[in-house]
Symmetry: C2
Subunit: 414 residues, 2 copies
């Protein structure tokens, strides 16, 4: 089955906007065992849209058009798909009547243009839109001895997704070959992408029937595994086997196998152990606290802490002796540990985290270059201090440093 | 001139990855006065890629292919474009020799496959890749009395962008009709998108020759203006006129007309007035501090502050009397003001910010629902407290609250 997604709208041909619906639709089609072969973006332009529709109809078994179903002159999807199919549009009088009724209820007269939304491709079924005014359409026919399905969906994501789940998916499922699909996501922290791939490629390449996608960024490497099989049992067994081998190789760098984020895992561990956390951050400037508190319910295990950007605040809020800063520098192993231990103490927390470093672009020296970060964690008895030299720009350095801080907390709870 | 961008790579047909190069290339083409009519994504698949190439060559004057230029079996762009053009590939022996030399210098033998990168479409010029091993290609011909240009670029963004700027752009510029393009970006804070659009649409619709794109999200509405004219003077004059009318309408909600972010503007204002800032945040959990410190050089005006998530920390770090919290609740006008005034005092700052609210999804009551946030700012003499009820999920509420906090600081500096 060859599937194609066509996104319609001139705004997606600017440098500012991108089609994101296709990510959702691709995931949905993959769940059905259908891969997407082509994605096209075209503007609100009669000839160009018709040409795109024609090409898609020629080469694909399932074509999903999204956008361009509204009431304005710019909304051309209905006309262009009908033209490409060589069939006519009919105005659906039930739809028109319903529109008049809706406007009448709100005591406003309906703009003439609005009736365009009732134009239906001859032979297509109307798909109701419970979250907006533009209905979708479903057109199905036999073509070269195979079923061909064209689906017209509205562009706004919440309308599109609702229509997909409620009406399109139940109708599409029985028409595609049945397949059981199993997926698994392994997330790791603080591995370099190249090293992670070098270690795991020999393993996952042994499983050509499992699609392994490696996604990396900001101190996190994720392995997305997917396979289809005649039965769910077989699919799950295959995934389980590969996931197990990958976990054996990667060890405790794997922090999640069910989709949780690192901040969620840290929260789960803290709650499980009934521990409270406090942080004192310099170069991350609040990012560690922000990530922890991005999780709903984090007040159960996170007390707060201090953003000690200026050196005076390191002393004021985290009791770091000025002489210690003078002796070792604000960016030092000693200050990181003092931040962690003292913020723990002062806040009456169980675990304290301290971060200090040089996020750049300025402020680096030969001895202490941009990217040098010390991260410490303490539980009052034992502590861990890590020195790292992160590469990249300010944002990247801060993000990696926050990731390292969260990972240290996770490891202390393990 | 009809331009088309073709992104090649199966990973962009998964739910996880999206082509982002096309945003860069669209911006670059727009600068030349060229609009993008079609964007296509296709996988590493011989027949499908050839079909996409054939369609693109039929309908577009400029086609940019990106990706699929590497050495592996999966890299099919060269073959498929040549096939679609109906011309052959030739192996460029200078390129092969250079590759052997590079490998020899590193004392490793070159894999046979690697020579595929020296396959050049007959009639095309080789474009050097200073940041990677896969060269680009430039193919130009007369087609139906008009010049047609096909450009093959590598997929990695830093290779593609460098090649574009260094070799493609200088070569393309003289081939497209000259046009002067003026652009302007107006950014506003804390306006609702619908209200902003309702107020401005009657203005920008008077200028059909200026393309106005309204982008909104997270407490920020941006107006991107673009126009082309025979001379830069005319283009600038038109933009200036519309920008002026929009600013008159939107008043001091406009915080930037040259692209700066709100956190950069706040930083500029603080530096200009030589003021130091400190913050005490509860529900934003560090997000305000994180945004301020995301700007390079923020240590010049930002001291730090406290993340006072637990009530005890509101007292410990910001001296908020427990009785005040008891009397009014932690989420109250009074506590927000105490946070702002006290953190200012304690940190010896000029400006203090306090944020307290209910980010949800739990913790709301009928009286104090999820989304209720108090934001206060004080300079020791005057203060401002704002009560807001933000809609949406936890992330949205926190983001809007941080935006409001930054905007209050900006307004206090005005």
């Amino acid at each position: 089955v060859i599937a194609e997604i066509v996104a319609i709208g001139s705004e997606m041909l600017t440098p500012f906007r991108q089609d994101t619906n296709s990510l959702y639709l691709t995931g949905q089609l993959n769940e059905l065992g259908v891969s997407v072969a082509f994605k096209t973006v075209v503007g609100d332009h009669l000839l160009q849209l018709t040409s795109v529709a024609r090409t898609a109809i020629e080469r694909s078994d399932i074509v999903i058009f999204m956008g361009g179903l509204g009431p304005t002159e710019d909304d051309l999807t209905r006309e262009c798909v009908a033209e490409a199919l060589g069939v006519e549009l009919r105005r659906d009088h039930d739809l028109v009547a319903a529109m008049y009724k809706r406007f009448a209820e709100r005591r406003i007269s309906m703009p003439e243009n609005n009736a365009r939304q009732a134009d239906v491709i001859r032979g297509a079924d109307v798909v109701p839109n419970s979250r907006g005014s533009a209905p979708g359409q479903w057109f199905q026919r036999e073509q070269n001895g195979r079923p061909q399905i064209l689906i017209l969906l509205p562009g706004p994501p919440h309308e599109l997704q609702r229509m997909w789940e409620k009406d399109i998916l139940p109708r599409l499922r029985p028409l595609v070959p049945p397949a059981a699909i199993a997926t698994r996501v392994l997330k790791t922290a603080m591995l370099a992408e190249s090293a992670a791939d070098a270690r795991t490629a020999p393993i996952y390449k042994k499983y050509p029937n499992i699609e392994t996608t490696v996604l990396a960024g900001q101190g996190q490497v994720e392995f997305h595994l997917k396979t289809t099989a005649p039965t769910m049992q077989e699919a799950e067994a295959a995934i389980e086997k590969l996931a197990g081998e990958l976990q054996d190789e990667l060890g405790d760098a794997v922090f999640s196998t069910s989709g949780e984020s690192l901040e969620e895992i840290v929260g789960l561990f803290l709650q499980m152990r009934d521990k409270k956390l406090a942080v004192a951050e310099s170069c991350t400037g609040g990012l560690v606290a922000e990530r922890i508190t991005s999780v709903a319910g984090s007040s159960r295990y996170f007390l707060g802490g201090a953003v000690v950007y200026a050196n005076e605040l390191k002393t004021l809020f985290a009791d770091v002796p000025p002489l210690l800063i003078e002796a070792h520098g604000a960016v030092s192993r000693e200050v990181a540990l003092a931040l962690a231990e003292n913020i723990r103490d002062i806040c009456n927390a169980d675990i304290g985290v301290g971060v200090t470093g040089i996020a750049g672009p300025g402020g680096g020296t030969e001895e202490k270059p941009v990217g040098l970060v010390y991260i410490a964690v303490s539980d009052g008895q034992k502590h861990e201090i890590v020195e790292r030299r992160f590469l990249g720009d300010r944002e990247r350095i801060r993000r990696w440093a926050s990731q390292q801080a969260l990972d240290l907390v996770r490891r202390m709870m393990m």
